[in-house]
Symmetry: C2
Amino acid sequence: MGRSPSSMMEAVTAREDGVLAGRGLEELGGIDEGSYIPAYVQLSRILQEAVRRGILRPGGRIPSESELGRIFGLSRMTVRRAVSLLVDAGLLDARQGSGTYVVNPRTDGGLFLVPDFHEEMLSRGGTSSARLLGVRVVPAAGRAAEKLGVKRGRRLIYLERLLEGEGEPLVYERKYLLYDKSQPLLEGELGHGPVSELFAGHPRYAPVRSELELKATVLGKGEAALLGREAGEPAFCLEQLVFAANDLRVIWGWLILRGDRFSFRSLQAEVR
Amino acid sequence: MGRSPSSMMEAVTAREDGVLAGRGLEELGGIDEGSYIPAYVQLSRILQEAVRRGILRPGGRIPSESELGRIFGLSRMTVRRAVSLLVDAGLLDARQGSGTYVVNPRTDGGLFLVPDFHEEMLSRGGTSSARLLGVRVVPAAGRAAEKLGVKRGRRLIYLERLLEGEGEPLVYERKYLLYDKSQPLLEGELGHGPVSELFAGHPRYAPVRSELELKATVLGKGEAALLGREAGEPAFCLEQLVFAANDLRVIWGWLILRGDRFSFRSLQAEVR
DNA sequence: TTTGTATATATGTATATACAAGTTATGTCA
DNA sequence: TGACATAACTTGTATATACATATATACAAA
């Protein structure tokens, strides 16, 4: 809590380096020890705000970890933790031996979150349901066999669903799943939630990770009819390959997202 | 579901909780002290690999931090750092008082990186150039005035460019910039790099962050002609709003990305 | 059966210390 | 002046310790 004495010359010499030596940082307030918000989170917010306000400028060096510790009355390790948050988020660039710098923002690109459909609907407070258009067991062939890495003829489950939000069809879904005779397919479960949950807890097929590819497309005649739109309208195609343990591929398929209802906003170098 | 404190029953009772008590983890090797790779990075990779191989299963609890420290001969703080990497990456879920669990993966959604065009071209070793289709000073009006938060009539720079990679047009770009009489516009600089670099180092207009929105679209006749494609083909539209310090909006515009040349892959819960 | 309490153990936060390793500025020597 | 060693920084890694806080469990009391 004790504000360390800062020499008057600091600001001048530091300025030549592009450092502001913390001048102005104090204006954003100090660390509230009584708060339940951890000190390292408070400090990382202060630094973020300093960049937004231009107190710390892109390309410039921020005060050293020791100096920040002195300014805010925190240990170097705690300061490191605050800085690390912003380094991980891509807002700062720490160079060993040199210092920590404000990154020049990449204004033409960024990170986008494509949310899980059902999760998104629930989090918005809306309802989501899945209308099952068809399920059947088919022999593996063509791209499905190739993508899943199975021999032609191996039995797969093929299904089509229409995912609806607020009573309106929003997403058209086609999936191929490994067929497991010991685990009967419960059609009732396909009315809600993601397909991958069918395998949750399965000893060998439980999903571990997935690879997704987001592509631009236009609605075909069939898709347009199902989604209540016109053919030729823009849409997203989200191709999905789901892996279980040992890199076993268990689901392959894709989602068609209506372009008039879906768009994706970039994450603001989010600090979690 | 009672749990006995009996040590002889540990393996069995633990199994009911989904814990594997580290059994099998050792098979993935230990920490190489001679390596230049930090211990916490090595451990986080071991844990990642354990999930991929199914030694640690989604929904299950991993060994406690103290136990991992015992197994691998590391202090608890070092173990925490390794675990924190995976928690931040969304692969693990740490619950205070309870334990750390392997997350059930979201297979229908994920994070996507839309790279900066010029940066991407350079990193691939290819060439990138920008063909300037037009620049002029225009009075602010309509959506541009609204998005930039300026009065109608304020002077703006309007420009159109065709971004090319490997000699082929890939992206069509339209931007509105705040006009600054003290900073003359150098048309020569518009042949390379992102537009926002025009303001880099500017005392008031230097970009600090940007908000992006990724939308699905189809090529119009003019766009198709410029990009050497047919009208009606799928494409991405990346709308961009660039902020300087104090939330001053300095650039607004959008990019049209050819759908046949661009698609975006999800990031694998990347651990940096 | 419910409620309260004690205990063991889990993760979360903060600090202090030590040393390693990379960068930069400076001073000395030829 | 130029080359080179070095001192004085910087961030990076690892450990130990303390306390706060959340959870599970066992067991006693009502």
